[in-house]
Amino acid sequence: MNLNTAPPKRRDGIYVPANFAAELAERASRAAVAASQRRVRMRRLTWTATAVAAVFAGVVLSLRPQTVPAVAPATQLTVDEAWSALEQGDVTLSNDELLELAELHGITTL
């Protein structure tokens, strides 16, 4: 019966005990998996942040007043006049225009 539990002799003089090797393997595997999970989390966060930024930029761009109108309007209406015209059914607006006008008019819920 061979009771010698010492690691086999190596030419390089390095004797790695089994328990150290097992510990090292366990630590290395855990670190690798944790790093990969961190990467996935970071990727998700980056994507979310990018999506939120894109939506925000879209909203800002759509609400931004035109600095140079392509065609000068014939008449300038105040917000109140526009709102009255809308209430009286004199004009029809798209959903976006309606929201924009409502916001300018100080109405936050429709």
């Binding site: 190596r10 030419r11 390089d12 003089g13 390095i14 004797y15 790695v16 005990p17 150290f20 090797a21 097992a22 090292l24 393997a25 630590r27 290395a28 595997s29 670190a31 690798a32 998996v33 790093a35 990969s36 990467r39």
Partner: protein, 171 residues
């Protein structure tokens, strides 16, 4: 698929961690740095797991990460040139290293070799790896490796001749 890959990866690490530590320790000569190297190499292995093309054995593929990581770590921590003999020690500083006078002299002789020759010699003489595997680990041709090994042995013999120490010849 992911669980299967994770299981394969864990098994690979368990089977080869001691060998990776040995390789890293011989390059870095420091117990703690060798452990860090195995860990960092494992992280890179796992993040590149799906890019393995199967043109070599997984274990050979994994060796490359350990060697590259160890060489990078060595370059990062290159000490300032010193003349202090204690700091010039070429033997690994590890609780798992034991050397007699012959092995210490061999390590000192190996330390004088250029990097490529040193690596080839260590893989061939210490680990007894076939040239085909060493070629894949180091990404070079077998012919070049044989020449490197031959030059390394010649230089080591020359260095050790004063001590009347010799290595068994290998081709």
């Amino acid at each position: 698929m992911h669980l299967e890959a994770l299981s394969d990866f864990t098994q690979l690490v368990q089977r080869h961690a001691d060998q990776w530590y040995r390789v890293a320790l011989r390059i870095l000569l420091d117990h703690g740095s060798a452990q860090d190297c195995v860990q960092d190499a494992s992280i890179k292995m796992w993040s590149n797991w799906s890019s393995f093309r199967g043109d070599a054995q997984r274990s050979t593929w994994a060796y490359r990460f350990v060697v590259n990581e160890a060489l990078s770590a060595k370059r990062r921590s290159r000490p300032v040139a010193t003349t202090d003999p204690a700091e010039l020690a070429a033997v690994p500083d590890s609780p798992y290293f034991e050397a007699d006078a012959v092995l210490t002299a061999l390590y000192a002789a190996v330390a004088l070799l250029p990097e490529q020759q040193r690596l080839v010699f260590q893989f061939r003489y210490f680990d007894e790896l076939p040239y085909a595997d060493i070629a894949q680990i180091l990404g070079t041709s077998q012919g070049g490796l044989k020449a490197n090994y031959h030059h390394a042995v010649t230089k080591i013999k020359k260095t050790m001749v004063g001590l009347n120490l010799d290595l068994h010849s290998e081709s």
